[in-house]
């Protein structure tokens, strides 16, 4: 199924239109919604890379996000500009992933999941006490405000989030077409067979873990440029895990379009249910359960099952054919 240039053109067009939004002056609320959507999309894409393509049910995105956010926040206190802090934060998240990789990769399946779930809790406790710069307990808990971002407009953070979301989509696309992607899906399907077929399981898992940690870290740090205040409860909050998890599972784990669909739904729900407090969690939970029971492969899986892609694809192919003919 080779659908070439028209889809490429379409995605570039979408990207350009999205990038123009702040310039053409659409309502600020829209930018807020889209910003959330892009951050959740980047996180969901990376979570999908781990859970959907590598078979690693990683329950510690909040460790990466919190660490990256803290790195950037503390950086701005010692004079590091936040732009550098974004990269530094992502690097610290990736370094953390590297450090924990050996012990957590010794566990498989559900044990891996539980093993990773503990890590952000430990970090949360640590950051409650550890305060490298600034006065004791200034403000709330061991929190930091991100300084030096006063001049950053909503448009700027919007562009950052758009860039990181686009990179995450593109990255997954590239990985799946590469040798790495083939090996990752093999590991997901059967670790033993993959090993006896010559796949270096540890190295491949580590690659995907590091990539995910880096992108999740940068996405999290961008969030803390947008909302420039971080504390242990917020930075290492479990909602940083639930957002990408819900988006991926609802959208469809192990499919490229799943996280996009899921992230849109999760963002929509977040704003729709914003006024209902605890009820929103309950409603989201019910939706998650219904999706898991009714369509285990998510919305993307359902769409594929009913053949919803067939007609648009054929239409696209026909259009391609016509264009090619006219060009000749």
């Amino acid at each position: 199924m080779k659908i070439p240039r028209l889809t490429t053109l379409a995605s570039i067009a979408v990207l350009v239109v999205l990038a123009l939004f702040p310039v053409i002056g659409i309502p600020l609320n829209w930018l807020n919604y889209l910003f959330s959507f892009f951050i959740i999309l980047a996180l969901a894409n990376m979570w999908n890379l781990l859970a959907g393509y590598t078979g690693l049910i990683c329950l510690c995105p909040h460790a990466f996000i919190g660490l990256a956010g803290y790195t950037m926040a503390i950086g701005t206190w010692v004079g590091v500009p936040f732009q550098v802090g974004l990269i530094a934060g992502a690097a610290v998240a990736a370094l953390f992933a590297l450090l924990i990789s050996y012990p957590v990769f010794r566990m498989r399946g559900i044990y891996f999941a539980i093993g990773t779930l503990i890590l952000p809790e430990a970090l949360k406790a640590w950051f409650n006490f550890w305060r490298p710069v600034g006065n004791e307990y200034q403000g709330m808990g061991a929190g930091y405000s991100v300084t030096g971002v006063a001049g950053v407009t909503l448009g700027d953070t919007y562009w950052l989030s758009l860039a990181i979301a686009a990179v995450s989509v593109f990255l997954v696309y590239i990985i799946l077409r590469s040798r790495l992607g083939l090996g990752l899906t093999a590991i997901r399907d059967n670790e033993n067979t993959a090993a006896s077929s010559g796949v270096n399981i540890f190295r491949l898992k580590l690659s995907s873990f590091l990539i995910a940690a880096f992108i999740m870290g940068i996405a999290g740090a961008v969030w803390y440029v947008y909302s420039p205040r971080i504390n242990p409860t917020g930075g290492f909050s479990i909602s940083w895990l639930l957002l990408p998890l819900m988006a991926t599972v609802i959208g469809g784990e192990g499919s490229k379009e799943g996280p996009i669909i899921g992230a849109a739904i999760v963002t929509f729900l977040r704003f729709l249910l914003a006024d209902y407090g605890a009820w929103s969690l309950l409603i989201q939970g019910i939706i998650l359960i219904v999706v898991v029971v009714v369509m285990p492969r998510g919305i993307a899986g359902l769409l594929r099952q009913v053949g919803a892609y067939r007609f648009p694809l054929r239409l696209l192919q026909a259009a391609e054919g016509k264009i090619h003919k006219n060009l000749k």
Partner: protein
């Protein structure tokens, strides 16, 4: 260099180039799981181009032995030497890179990948750089050409067994460990399996075959190693082994 005794089986095989070194030698290997001794003081050699059968009652330790060779388990003591290299403590993927491939008794495919991609994984990661061979030829050999676009999870058991073999071949191995390729096949399918085994042999591969189907065992192999309760109880040509008292005792009590 000591010149080994040339048994007639080696002379029969034409692909043999090196006669003075064994491709694989298993040297006094022991493995226990808790209190159970799975493999005890196992020693045997496999020459290049040879097809060696591994036989024994259920629980004799045949599959464990294959796992020890393939690096899934590491022996408690003893050594496994492959082409002069000590591979006793190597990881499974390293052993695959060195040139040992294995199939699983219960097929273990990459369930969600296409048949073709199952082989691509093995060819991409398992074979050495510069190896040139056609995956289509392997698919033809095991009669899976028509199903190459099928998702492996949708294949029938017989096809899955063939896929195991194809995947092992796709790593372009020197030595191939076949764990019960014929198990679960009907009488009518066995000649075809024998045929495939012969073709694999013609490709110059050395084979260790674990099998319960006697017809396959007797017709495909040069030499049989019989195990019982983790120990080697007999070794020789199929004819010799079948008349061995210990073997008869192990099977018929």
């Amino acid at each position: 260099m000591p010149v080994p005794v040339l048994c007639d089986t080696i002379q029969r095989s034409r692909k043999v180039t090196k006669l003075d070194t064994a491709v694989l030698s298993v040297d006094r290997v022991n493995k226990r799981f808790g209190g159970i001794v799975a493999v005890k003081d196992m020693t045997f050699e496999v020459q290049a181009g040879e097809v060696v059968g591994l036989m024994g009652p259920n629980g004799a330790g045949k599959t464990t032995l294959l796992n020890l060779i393939a690096g899934v388990y590491h022996p408690d003591s003893g050594r496994v030497i492959f082409q002069g290299k000590d591979i006793t403590r190597c990881a499974p993927h390293k052993i695959c890179h060195l040139g040992i491939a294995r199939t699983y008794q219960i097929p273990q495919p990459f369930t969600n990948l296409l048949v073709r991609d199952n082989l691509r994984v093995a060819a991409t990661y398992g074979s050495k750089k510069g190896d040139t061979f056609e995956l289509d030829e392997i698919l033809d050999l095991v009669d899976l050409s028509k199903q190459k676009g099928t998702i492996a999870g949708d294949l029938a058991t017989v096809s899955l067994k063939r896929l195991e073999l194809a995947r092992a071949l796709a790593t372009n191995p020197t030595l191939i460990l076949l764990d019960e390729v014929a198990a679960g096949s009907t009488e009518a399918e066995i000649p075809r399996i024998l045929d495939i085994t012969r073709q694999v042999r013609k490709m110059g591969k050395t084979i260790i075959l674990v099998e319960h189907v006697m017809k396959v065992m007797v017709e495909a192999v040069d030499r049989i190693v019989v195990m019982d309760k983790g120990e080697k109880i007999a070794e020789g040509t199929p004819g010799e082994v079948m008349e061995d008292e210990k073997v008869l005792a192990a099977y018929f009590g």
